[in-house]
Amino acid sequence: MTTKFDLNDDSLVVIVGSGAGGGTLANELAQKGIKSVVLEAGKRFKMEDIENDEWKMFGKISWLDKRYVEGPARLAKDFPNLPAWIVKGVGGATMHWAGVAMRFQEHEFRMRSENGVIPGANVLDWPVTLKELEPYYYKAEQKMGVCGTEATGMPFHGQSSHYKVVAEGARRIGAKCEQATLAINTEVRDGRPSCQVNGFCMQGCRIGAKWSTMYTEIPKAEATGNVEVRPQSMALRIEHDKNGKVTGVLYADKDGNHLFQKARLVAVAANSIESPRLLLNSASSMFPDGLANGSGQVGQNYMTHTTAGVYGEFEKPVHMYKSTVVPGIVHEWKDNDPSRGHYAGYELEILHLGLPFMSAFLNPGRSGWGRELADSLENYDKMAGFWVCGEDMPVESNNITLHPTEKDQYGLPVPVVYKTDHINDTRMRNHAYDKATELLEAVGARKVNYLPPYPASHNMGTNRMSAHARDGVVNKWGQSHEIKNLFVSDGSQFTTSGTENPTLTIVALAIRQADYIADQMKRNAI
């Protein structure tokens, strides 16, 4: 679209990032007549750019700028420069996500009250309840087109062969298994087609059946004339005035020119590594530790979900790739039941990888070779299995910091990501390995493979919400405790990770935040 805003227009909202949080916020504000500029670091891709090819799409859309992973976890050895598996492009990680859209459970908003102090973890209750979020979850499900929900009335996808194998195993051990509520059309809806089961949800949906802001929120926002998206625009720092209010964002355009876009309000939605990084890079004499960081919590409590992979090899073919990537979920252990030996819950998400990625992740890193691995890959078509997705304990020392000397292509300090397990994470993962094995063996698995965590697509917690300014970065609206016209609109505002995939909650929070911002602007409070 052709809307162009002036760099000196200080009536605008400037949104950094165009994914689930930023893209949704831009469209919600645009529908209310509020004008915004969206700064997106990545390119604008076309549908024709999307291919059913794992490595090609990895190379094309991933965020591959220099980063360091540190800590004793195996991830740091296997993927020393790739902590997160997210996207650099208009649409952000909504291009890559598998479409799994589940609401948080009621207790997951108050894990501190639920369990008390957990030593070594920095657990806090959310300043929001499920009850408050329910209407927004409903709106998010409608917006995104989540199948299997009351909000859309769309049916589930139907049981794929991969689903059927797992569902039978679950039945035999008495575990609850259901088809996944996916933001993937099972009917023509909202101008997008019904899923044809290509099996490449995470490479970007080639036909647009899966919700992505790339071809939903962003073009809808642009169609109002209220939004200008500037791709290949990397935010460098947020400036503020002498009263401590933010005034705009300095960014580098595709030619490396530094431009300053004035703003009435800035919303940061650049995912949980870049968002705190931007706040830290915006340190000034007034805010020496970075913007919104009076509590010292910016960049801290980095969570990724407690993850792992478990794949069984069967006697006969499963052809798991002939399926939506996540056809179903085993929900049996999603509750908070410390009698299992760990706090919080996890889901076993039925999930396939193609052969190229299976060869890279079955035994990732330098030692992944040899006859055992090759024998398992010979059985690729006979595999079925899971990606484990469990609640991750917030730990203050799991964090994003700035490299003291090394700079990236924009001249910004390279982010350093420190992440390792809390003992609860380890216990939960081991429990999940055991239960997944029991389930897969119950339906005939002859060998079960255990995959360690790979680079995280769920990144959360580094600008967390808190009731009190001393405990976190933003309030219940995602508004900075310290700076009234500075907002955080992505998963970095999560107080705890929950068990569920984060996107639906990010979208629900963004819809709610847009209402709040509109109200506050009308009242001239910001």
Partner: protein
């Protein structure tokens, strides 16, 4: 120096050694006679007969699929060797790597890598080298060349790109007959 001497050995001897140590001698012969890619084709290019035979054995030890033709491994090694012709650093990486491999085998077993008949013995030596740049280069290229090779996907039972065929909605996504 030991290695250089081996490079000078007659092609017949090297070929015999290559075939002896290859798990697919018969297939290898067939390919040689049919003029398809073979270890010798790419070997002649840059790294010499001994190194090329060693790399082929190493490739088959890294991702051992006993019924998979040599040509698929050679298809990974050939461009690597060709690149080494114009890339001195890569050439050094490969020749130094093979030399180190043989020297480690010599220390442990008083044999070259190609002379080690037991796979566990060869794997033992490779494991000790797996963190190095030489091993990781070969492994990385092989992983892409074998498991990311669309020509091999049907063999492994993987479908590859599906959108242009209408996905699997009408092509058996729900079919399974053994539950």
């Amino acid at each position: 120096m030991k290695n250089r001497k081996r490079d000078d050995q007659s092609p017949d001897l090297t070929r015999r050694r290559f075939l002896t140590h290859s798990g697919t001698a018969v297939v290898g012969l067939g390919m040689l006679s049919s003029g398809l890619l073979s270890a010798r084709t790419w070997a002649a290019a840059a790294v010499g007969e001994h190194a090329s035979a060693t790399l082929m054995r190493m490739a088959r030890d890294i991702y051992p699929h006993d019924t998979l033709d040599d040509k698929y491994y050679a298809a990974v090694l050939t461009p690597l060797a060709e690149k080494a012709n114009s890339d001195a650093e890569l050439k050094k990486l490969l020749s130094d790597g093979v030399r180190e491999l043989d020297s480690r085998c010599d220390k442990l077993f008083a044999r070259t890598y190609l002379e080690l008949e037991s796979e566990p013995d060869r794997v033992l030596v490779l494991r000790a080298m797996e963190d190095g740049a030489f091993f990781q280069r070969i492994k990385g290229d092989l992983m892409m060349g074998i498991y990311n090779n669309p020509e091999l996907w049907p063999r492994f039972g993987y479908g590859g790109s599906a959108w242009e065929k209408g996905g699997y909605i009408n092509r058996g996504y729900d079919k399974i007959d053994w539950l």
